[in-house]
């Protein structure tokens, strides 16, 4: 049996109906364990105090913000090459989730940055890159919303996702370059992962896994909703013709 059979909407609905409870369960357990462990059973950082604990939301959200875009890129490619409707709808479903993760990363970053750096916002390359990623998400979602015909919308957003990905990577490097150019050795840039000690690392891994499953759960649910919406409009169109 080919893997592409899962791209058949009917087949996808069956499989996802089976997988969804497991995904929800794993999400709840992993996030509960990871966050409780991280928030209450890790020592305060000697330098940053308890503010460091926002890392358990910030880092996983930031990672998933990028991974969601990568998933959309893969789904867009599958749509362009093989024209599986589920793929296009999964990309559509993932976009608002990815945008939300990006916003969570930005907001938790600001909350963390204020006590640490003394400012809510700095034009650090990483922060700037996330801001630009937010714009890409907004553009992608807006294009889906603006185009009426679903297949046209899927085609156009896929092309945008492909081109956007190239420019997003370019922007990431441009921003790195630009900040060095502006203020040499920016004191505010802080490479988070490198500073993390083992005590913080393990619960962080659990939280990251939790966010991965949260993403999977949300995308599955939203894709199912999109498929149902498409079925509904197909039925309505059929009724109009009949």
């Amino acid at each position: 049996m080919s893997i592409w059979e899962y791209a058949n909407p009917k087949r996808f609905m069956q499989t996802s109906a089976w997988a969804l409870p497991w995904a929800i369960g794993l999400t709840v357990v992993l996030l509960l364990v990871g966050l409780v462990w991280g928030f209450f059973f890790t020592p305060d950082d000697y330098k940053q105090g308890s503010t460091v604990k926002i890392i358990y939301l910030h880092v996983p959200a930031a990672m998933m913000a990028i991974n969601a875009w990568v998933m959309m890129l893969v789904a867009s490619l599958i749509w362009i090459v093989r024209r599986h409707h589920v793929s296009a709808l999964a990309a559509k479903a993932a976009a608002p989730v990815g945008l939300t993760f990006t916003l969570i990363a930005l907001v938790t970053g600001a909350l963390w940055g204020q006590p640490m750096w003394g400012t809510w916002w700095a034009w650090d390359p990483r922060l700037t890159a996330f801001l630009i990623l937010t714009l890409f998400y907004f553009g992608y979602i807006a294009l889906w919303a603006a185009v009426e015909n679903p297949d046209t919308a899927a085609d156009l957003t896929s092309i945008l996702c492909l081109v956007g990905s190239v420019f997003a990577v370019l922007s990431r490097y441009a921003v790195n370059f630009w900040n060095q150019g502006l203020h040499q050795g920016a004191s505010l840039s802080l490479d988070k992962e490198e500073n993390v000690a083992d005590v913080f690392w393990l619960p962080l891994l659990v939280c990251i896994a939790g966010f991965v499953f949260l993403f999977i759960t949300l995308v599955l649910m939203r894709t199912r909703t999109e498929i149902r919406a498409r079925r509904l409009s197909a039925l309505l169109a059929r009724e109009r013709v009949a």
Binding site: L135, T152, L170
Partner: protein, 218 residues
Amino acid sequence: MKALLLRDLRLAMRSGGGFGLGLAFFFLLSVLVPLGVGPEGGTLARIAPGILWVGALLACLLSLDRIFALDFEDGSLDLLATAPIPLEAVVAVKALAHWLVTGLPLTLLAPGLAVFLNLPAGGYGWLVLSLLLGTPALSVIGAFGAALVVGLRRGGLLLSLLVLPLYVPTLIFGAEVVRRGAEGMALATPLALLTAISLGAAALLPFAAAAALRVNLR
């Protein structure tokens, strides 16, 4: 293809408004910024490269939706799609025409406006060169955005939302060239990267834009 270029240029000349508007916008922005920021020469000199590049970019953005929308409305795009010119070439030629009536005049106007913004003497040559090398990228990327939204009735705002994030690398490298030039620093790297973006965009984006046009014409 030459005929298409000439036609687009002639249309731009006759319709007035089109590219004059972008130049006027660029001019106004360069006058308003000192009024808002204050007349202090040092401050203006420091922000001049960024302001000039942002101004040129926004002025370019103003006329993007005209690249394909007019031809779409009057049916020319359908006819061009069935003509013996490949649609990719149509996109490239129309982007070139857009650059000739916006990017190039903006580039020529920029040194004049740089006087208002007190750009250091060393920056003028680099300003012109960076705009000359960078504005083609703005036109090609803009043509791609315009191709995406050509079928939409109110595509203008959406076009800005789609195109602005794509403009980020061009803006950063372009302004960086001028900034470094004005301060007398080495600028080979941003200049090379800016050129690379323009060339890469001109080589690849017409294909993406033509694909988007075909989807929109269906």
